[in-house]
Point group: C2
Chain length 487, copies 2
């Protein structure tokens, strides 16, 4: 006999979701008990789960028990106060509540009509955030531009690169795709190369200008000018420049104003990737790092990194929304409706790669309202102060050196090779990273700058306090002592 | 004085999230009180919200009050039992719990190391689902293929089109991009055209073969053969074919086996888009509709449509995962780690457009475990029976006709023009759609088939019962009577 499934019974939803709330709150209560970096071996989970889905339903408690015993050991705890790897990916109560509400309403907001509130709230909160960042008016919805929530910075750079590609190809003809050249630096996020690859820009036409420590790994405007001149002289067509405010390796800040002027005089689309550091620019004292953004055609900042908005929520502003729409719009019969046909509304499907989209503005709205601007500024400043504190600890131990200048909440540092042998230095720091992460007490990551293997200590998890930074430094010192002692 | 923000305090999380659970459960309890299709005017929300974010924090109750009074009126209620538009986008308790847990853990699973459980659970549940669909072994993770969760079917077709593009360009040289030809039909989802546009395939080389009622709007293998032969004869290079099982307009099913053989003999990547109807194929009696999938290179089904998994969760399987990885991988220094470098693990960042990714497998896992295969089959059958019931109601009213054969849970129908004037018929049905949706009692959508404006009644919301279908039909009959009476 087939009994009826009631998959959305309100009272069962209430009962089960309350259980899940307690499960998650308990997780946060005990989050420091887990190794930050999961210590499982590849393939661990296949040994613990059956080969196929169950025919009959199982109880929630069973599943939660499995989450505890089988899933959580395989989780790397990004929300742990002892997480200092990559860049943070903030969760917050407000962001979490926004995710819950979005999942509860569960609408698919491709066009305005499919939930006017989703589109309109997104326009409004991106204007709010744009004003907090003091972006030029042209990026706000009142003019020809506007903001949109993308999933990630990779999608943000892709959609504007496509808009730039098509804008120039409309002028020079689509057979010229092979002539298009995009510019970034060897510090630009790999998303630029991936976007070029997706868009059909030839890989050898994706110029990653060399940077070095003399300019703190920022792009040299002179080098850019030379590259552009050379490319034009051989018949290529410069079309896209990606500058970064806060590179992934070392938070380098490209000189926006100078680069923007070069881009403008060459008819190049100028995109600014401030995925990580953009959040800091809501503080007046850090706003200078995006001075020059007025020269940009597009600007991106990930609210899901260091801005308490659960992943994913990547804010993108453009000055010319029509350029995006011309590249990305589709208009099949089954989606036609009065409001869209009359051009009275924004249909965000035409600003992004996918058709469907979640109600992501809810979580950003809740973050802004439940915390308020001043609290958010304090939140950023607190992390930067903790990074300064860590920097001081490193500087106070002569066995280490701070590498590259600390600007925001990332400290790049390394253990000095006792014999001044750089090859040895790289292995030593690699081993230190491994040793520290294997303790389970902290998780940090690395990069390579000027051929040197560098450790990255990124402060930014919402639960991190000074005591966690102190303890992390002790782990690093202890592991360094052990390594150096065994030499 | 700057007071400290505690954005992830476990006890405050518990308290506020319990409040949100009740808010959402109450929403589901009263969901039938809302107009299904939001009745607000464009720009309504800007009038209700301030121009900028608050400086000081606001209380949760304030925000929830605003959700009730300002946001919900602008929501189109996809979860309403009276929602019959487009295709469904299922929410369920299990899916919702999975979203909560994913948002709670809030990790970013680009590489295996960033949470081994996220990658491994995804591999496992896509194997489970692949087995439920009786996909050929080659699509499972044990061989050269495997499954991956994409955000949407648009992203699924894009990533495989990119893999196909690069595979052929590696052979013929990248300057041949302009010669590549992709095939679909005038019923294929607009995502194919958008993918071609993004990938730099020339728009005139995206062939949308004509379909008609004689083949129930399915692709004719003969037409495809002709098109391919002609394209080859003029020096073009056929590289991609997208077939659909359950088209968006009318649930047409393309003949996979015949198309697949043509694709194979021409070295064309064969993608099957079963975004909507794939869910039905977990029932033995509907599995026949994907017979021939063994000829495909890739297969896609949206668990977020009709499979109780909250949006977004689009399941994609490929036979050759290396083709995806060759197109989409990046390997920047800052992401390098032992497990990835040793090739011991899957890094799903290389199977998709974005870098970051959510823990989406949790919700699919919870749906499969909390409901079980048999319940899920019953769930599908129940909706199909409700669609049959609606089809019978339409057939019983001589003023209407059922258009195109009903296969799954979508009924295409229209009001017959009393004067046999087809132009009049189109306006009449357009007006009927408007009138019915304006009541707020139901939401249906439309398409155009063979020049005729057709109404679509898609059963599939989790709360829909027979009484809702009966009531919807009464709304349509009443509005039809009013329209016909006023002629």
């Amino acid at each position: 006999m087939e009994r009826e499934l009631r998959p959305m019974d309100a009272e069962q939803l209430r009962e089960h979701a309350h259980k899940m709330v307690d499960f998650i709150a308990d997780y946060y209560k005990t989050i420091e008990n887990f190794p930050v970096l999961s210590q499982v071996e590849p393939g661990y989970l296949q040994k613990l789960l059956p080969d196929s889905a169950p025919n009959q339903p199982e109880g929630l408690q069973n599943v939660l028990d499995d989450v505890k015993s089988k899933i959580l050991p395989g989780v790397t705890h990004w929300q742990s106060p002892n997480y200092f790897a990559y860049y943070p990916s903030n969760s917050s109560i407000a962001g979490f509540l926004g995710e819950m509400l979005s999942a509860g309403i569960n609408m698919v907001g491709f066009s305005w009509i499919t939930s006017p509130a989703a589109t309109e709230l997104e326009i409004i909160v991106l204007d709010w955030l744009g004003k907090m960042l003091k972006l030029p008016e042209e990026f706000l919805s009142s003019g020809q531009g506007g903001g949109v929530i993308q999933g990630t910075a990779s999608e943000a750079v892709l959609v504007v690169l496509l808009a730039a590609r098509d804008k120039v190809l409309r002028r020079v003809g689509k057979d010229s795709l092979k002539k298009l050249v995009a510019y970034g630096s060897d510090q630009t996020h790999s998303a630029l190369q991936k976007a070029c690859q997706i868009a059909g820009v030839h890989p050898e036409n994706c110029r990653l200008l060399k940077t070095d420590s003399s300019r703190s790994y920022a792009i040299s405007p002179d080098l850019l000018c030379e590259a552009i001149s050379h490319d034009i002289s051989v018949g290529l067509i410069p079309f896209f420049l990606c500058a970064t405010v806060g590179t992934t390796s070392s938070t380098a800040v490209d000189p926006l104003l100078a680069l923007g002027k070069i881009a403008k005089s060459n008819g190049i689309w100028f995109h600014v990737d401030a995925a990580y550091a953009g959040s800091a620019c809501i503080c007046p004292e850090y706003r200078c790092y995006i001075d020059g953004v007025e020269e940009a055609d597009s600007f991106n900042m990930n609210a899901h990194k260091w801005f308490l908005t659960n992943f994913d929520c990547s804010a993108l502003w453009v000055k010319d929304r029509n350029a995006l729409i011309q590249s990305l719009s589709t208009n099949p019969e089954f989606l036609k409706n009065k409001a869209s046909q009359a051009n009275m509304v924004v249909d965000y499907k035409d600003w992004q790669i996918p058709l469907g989209r979640r109600f992501r503005s809810l979580k950003l709205w809740m973050v802004l309202r439940l915390y308020g601007v001043e609290n958010l500024q304090c939140y950023i400043r607190n992390h930067i102060n903790l990074a300064k504190y860590f920097e001081g600890l490193v500087a106070g131990d002569t066995r280490f050196e701070v590498v590259a200048s600390r600007i925001f909440s990332l400290v790049c540092f390394r253990l000095l090779p006792p014999d001044n042998n750089e090859d040895h230095g790289n292995k030593l720091n690699h081993d230190l990273l491994d040793a520290a992460n294997s303790t389970g007490k902290i998780f940090i990551s690395h990069t390579v700058l000027s051929g040197k293997y560098i450790l990255r200590f990124a402060v930014g998890a919402p639960l991190t306090e000074e005591r966690h930074v102190t303890a992390a430094w002790k782990v690093l010192q202890d592991e360094a002592s052990a390594l150096l002692g065994s030499l």
